[in-house]
């Protein structure tokens, strides 16, 4: 029987790439998003036995709980959770509307904690260990003008990673963060041409990243070879933070 991985926000961008790669690697995947988008339905048709999708807003506790319940009902207790769902809101903090700040924290941080809590309640009952991977960001490590609140949520995820790794390690559940750099996805669409050029210039490997640059790290951390790695943040940014 396939190991089950829960992936939040699997309908587009990095989450979609992770979902696709996990299916190709033989995992069963339970994912959620606010909308199925255009790319998930073909995957649902291609993998009807190993892919489950449910509409959910991770920023709403009842919604994320219903998703975890649905995933467990379909596949049983999960082997792993990938906390990927997130939103980006850009703006100078002094003028960023508080409702935007609340949305960021509720989805990127509180939502991730709630999903981890809900998933862990099932993972603890499943012998054999497990994996939790939080998708954070180099923005949480280094900051970026206009992304103060976003950076706070991503730094918070790295804190969650370190504390939870200590808490559940004795059950052989590892908890790690993967921190992508600037990815060429929809979430980076708000970068101006000048900002993109500056990022590329400062990146030793000379380009923005792609989802495909990050996915192999996820597969590695899920694999048996990573069973002694926990509480770490793996940065994948073409070297911009080195």
């Amino acid at each position: 029987m396939s190991r089950t991985v829960i992936v939040t926000g699997g309908s587009r961008g990095l989450g979609l790439a992770i979902t696709r790669a996990l299916l190709e690697a033989g995992y069963a995947v339970a994912t959620c998003s606010r909308h199925p988008g255009d790319d998930l339905p073909p995957l649902l048709a291609a993998y009807p036995d190993r892919l489950f999708w449910q509409q959910a807003d991770i920023g709403v506790a009842a919604s994320s709980q219903a998703f975890i319940d649905g995933a467990v009902q379909r596949f049983g207790a999960p082997w792993a959770l990938i906390n990927n769902a997130g939103i980006a809101r850009e703006g100078i903090l002094a003028t960023l509307p508080l409702v935007e700040v609340d949305d960021l924290i509720q989805t990127n941080l509180t939502g991730a904690i709630q999903v981890a809590r809900a998933a862990l309640r099932h993972m603890l009952s499943r012998p054999g260990g497990g994996r939790i991977i939080n998708i954070s960001s180099i923005i949480g490590q280094r900051g970026y003008t206009g992304l103060a609140a976003y950076a706070a949520t991503k730094a918070g995820l790295d804190g969650l990673t370190r504390a939870l790794a200590r808490e559940v390690g004795r059950r052989r559940i590892t908890v790690n963060s993967v921190a992508p750099g600037y990815l060429d996805t929809e979430m980076s669409g708000t970068l101006s041409g000048g900002q993109r050029e500056q990022i590329v210039r400062r990146t030793p490997l000379g380009r923005l990243g792609t989802a495909d640059d990050v996915v192999p790290a996820i597969l590695f951390l899920l694999g048996d070879g990573a069973h002694f790695i926990t509480g770490q943040t793996l940065t994948i940014d073409g070297g911009i933070t080195c």
Binding site: L124, S125, E167
Partner: protein, 83 residues
């Protein structure tokens, strides 16, 4: 309505299951048995696992509104019986 004795039986059963999954020998659990700092080879994560299991079986969550102090199996059984 679940009475305290029924809950104590359930707690005893689930505690034995958790200990078995850890590879530990089953120990007798009575109403006076403390979960932590007592004879049971139980840690805080085992206790959390027990609480989650009890909630799954009974559908009750006596901690929904916040943590309530308990130390022994009997005290935990009473919390579920009253929930």
């Amino acid at each position: 309505m679940t009475d305290t004795n029924t809950m104590l039986d359930l707690i005893t059963q689930e505690t034995a299951r958790i200990l078995a999954e850890k590879g530990e020998a089953a120990l007798p659990v009575t109403a006076d048995t403390a979960f932590l700092d007592g004879p049971l080879p139980f840690d805080s994560l085992d206790l959390a696992t027990l609480i989650v299991a009890l909630e799954g079986i009974t559908g009750k969550d006596p901690f929904r509104a916040g943590f309530r102090q308990f130390n022994t199996a009997g005290e935990l059984a009473a919390l579920y019986a009253a929930a």
